[in-house]
């Protein structure tokens, strides 16, 4: 890799160069705009804007982008994030002017196509999840969680139960307790057992007259299927609570097992994980929500329904929790997911789940011993391993291994999550990687295992072969300085 430092575009020494040369203003117009400004708002000197030609600007940003680590270039085994390939067909469909030129204020009669896409997505999700009604409106997974928890809240209020506690496992994604609190609940933590699954004793101890529900991911964030889920559902329902399924790991079981059959009442789905839409990165996401029949009246508005004449329209469910965003959701993302669902078909989606588990198990089986398996040698679509032994014996941390992987051409898996396993990695290869790629990753991990034994100093100083060395993460968090003053 080119290791030379890339200056900020303001710092490129090219004074006087321009990409565009605007025509001069006629003499009589000069200064009038400036004179209209109050004195104290006028600057003394011109602002230090970048001065580069168009070609220089293009090269500057292209060089920067070439240093980006991305799924289109390399393997990205980030556990819990599902960095899978997004088929180009999705993009081709989503770029069709028939969709891109729509405006959300158009009459329903004029946008039947996109309403049908939203409706069809709902119809895909219902049988896949084993639930009775769905909405594709929520604008991201986090909003889906908020919608789901708000529905549970509304149901309890409607039935006058006075319940306001939600149970969340200690291994859960941080969004779970956050969504529960935002929806107005108090959170109680359920412990995991030594096998990485929910501890039923801890569950029983936390259930009670205040229990409104539980939020679960299955398979959980340790990459393990919660085998006791039917018993968990029975206990929670008997106690008077509802079950919320965090669909973050639905990609591991799609077509093989259904949250509705396990006893869940509400589900959110992250379309980027199970249906290969782009990761939001703060941009548009989509987090559809599906519910059992008794919760359907509480779905948010607008809800897409199909009339008896076959036309599609927006409606407001009877006891709707209300509107979650300005319009009808990020329909471009829903469209990509629908393109994926149709191109895979039911069999294809099941194969996706199977291969995601096969790939993760292949890696788990072949990693060297220094990567200890706290939960045994089998997993679902992602696997937890830890270097806690190497930490004790060689003072090598997961962080050091992560940085060394960068030297060897791989993005690190997720580190230090789930929180209950010290010095851990959460590895999710996804179904879209070939055996060759997995073998190259395993070879890199084998090299690192040898280095832990014989050259631990190489890890302690990594990355050694990238344009930027090891960064001071604590300073980056405390002394944030991203301001370019003009």
């Amino acid at each position: 890799m080119d290791r030379t430092e890339i200056p900020l575009i303001h710092e490129i020494p090219a004074a006087g160069r321009r990409g565009v040369l605007p025509p001069s203003a006629p003499p009589e117009d000069r200064n009038t705009a400036v004179e209209a400004l109050p004195d104290h708002l006028r600057r003394e000197t011109p602002p230090p804007l970048p001065e580069v030609s168009e070609l220089e600007a293009v090269r500057h940003f292209t060089r920067l982008s070439q240093r980006n680590y991305c799924i289109d270039g390399q393997f990205y085994p980030l556990g819990s994030c599902t960095m899978k390939y997004n088929p180009r067909l999705n993009e081709k469909i989503a770029a069709m002017p028939a969709f891109t030129q729509l405006h959300p204020r158009q009459e329903e009669a004029d946008v039947q196509g996109v309403l049908r896409v939203c409706h069809d997505m709902q119809e895909v999700l219902k049988p896949l999840l084993g639930l009775d009604e769905a909405t594709a409106a929520p604008a991201a997974g986090a909003q889906g969680e908020f919608v789901g928890m708000s529905i549970i809240k509304a149901w309890h209020e409607d039935h006058g139960t006075g319940r306001d506690e939600v149970l969340v496992p200690d291994a859960a994604h941080g969004t779970n307790p956050a969504s529960a609190v935002l929806a107005g609940f108090k959170v109680r933590e359920v412990k995991s057992g030594p096998d990485g699954r929910m501890d039923l004793e801890s569950l029983r101890a936390n259930l009670g007259g205040k229990t409104a529900g539980i939020m679960l991911t299955n398979p959980n964030t340790c990459g393990l299927f919660e085998k006791d889920i039917v018993e968990v559902a029975r206990l929670v329902h008997e106690a008077g609570g509802l079950l919320y399924y965090d669909g973050a790991n639905l990609n591991a079981i799609a077509g093989r097992a259904r949250p509705g059959d396990m006893g869940f009442d509400v589900v959110h789905v992250n379309l980027h994980k199970t249906f290969s839409t782009p990761h939001g990165g703060g941009g548009p996401g989509s987090g559809p929500v599906a519910v059992s029949a008794r919760l359907a009246p509480y779905l948010p508005t607008p809800h897409v329904v199909r009339g008896s004449d076959g036309s599609y329209r927006l409606s407001t469910p009877e006891k709707s929790i209300g509107r979650m965003l300005a319009f009808h959701g990020n329909t471009g993302v829903v469209l990509r997911a629908m393109a994926y669902a149709l191109s895979q078909g039911g069999e294809g989606l099941r194969a996706v789940a199977d291969h995601s588990a096969l790939n993760a198990n292949y890696i788990l089986a072949r990693l060297p011993e220094v990567f200890e398996r706290p939960f045994g040698s089998r997993c679902m679509h992602e696997a937890v391993v830890t270097v806690r032994g190497a930490r004790k014996e060689k003072d090598i941390r997961a962080f050091d291994v992560a940085k060394r992987l960068l030297d060897l051409g791989f993005h690190s898996p997720t580190v230090y999550f789930p929180l209950l396993v010290p010095e851990c990695f959460l590895i999710e290869p996804t179904e879209t990687e070939s055996k060759d790629t997995l073998d190259r990753f395993i070879a890199a991990m084998e090299q690192i295992a040898r280095e832990i034994e014989s050259q631990p100093e190489v890890l302690a100083s990594a990355p050694n072969e990238l344009p930027t060395g090891r960064l001071d993460e604590a300073a980056a968090a405390k002394e944030l300085n991203v301001c370019c003053r003009f």
């Binding site: 962080f399 999550f417 993460e473």
Partner: protein, 125 residues
Amino acid sequence: MDESKLLFTKSHEWIEPEGEARRCGISAHAQEMLGDIVFVELPEAGRKVSKGEEFIIVESPKAAADVYAPLSGEVVEVNEALEGDPALINKDPYGEGWLVKIKPDGTSGTDDLMDARAYKDSLEE
């Protein structure tokens, strides 16, 4: 602060065994697991807490962790120095890196708290 005289919780907090207002913090093990601490959210002085309640958040680049009240009582003082220098918790977890002083209200017992030796043994398990 003499570590051997402190009481510890399973969730890695420590507290002074006696006194009107008792200092508490997180253990050396806890700060080491978290790594460089970059932010601490402390409660207001005067807040009443129940044993086991989340009342402080400690953040590192790795994770944000809740700190649980080791005893029930009132928070009577917080360590203001942490605001400017949260790394004090890493440097001196039993001394300058203390978090708050709690005045116990006598409603919660200390039987389930461990002495330094028992805590150390529990980490070996």
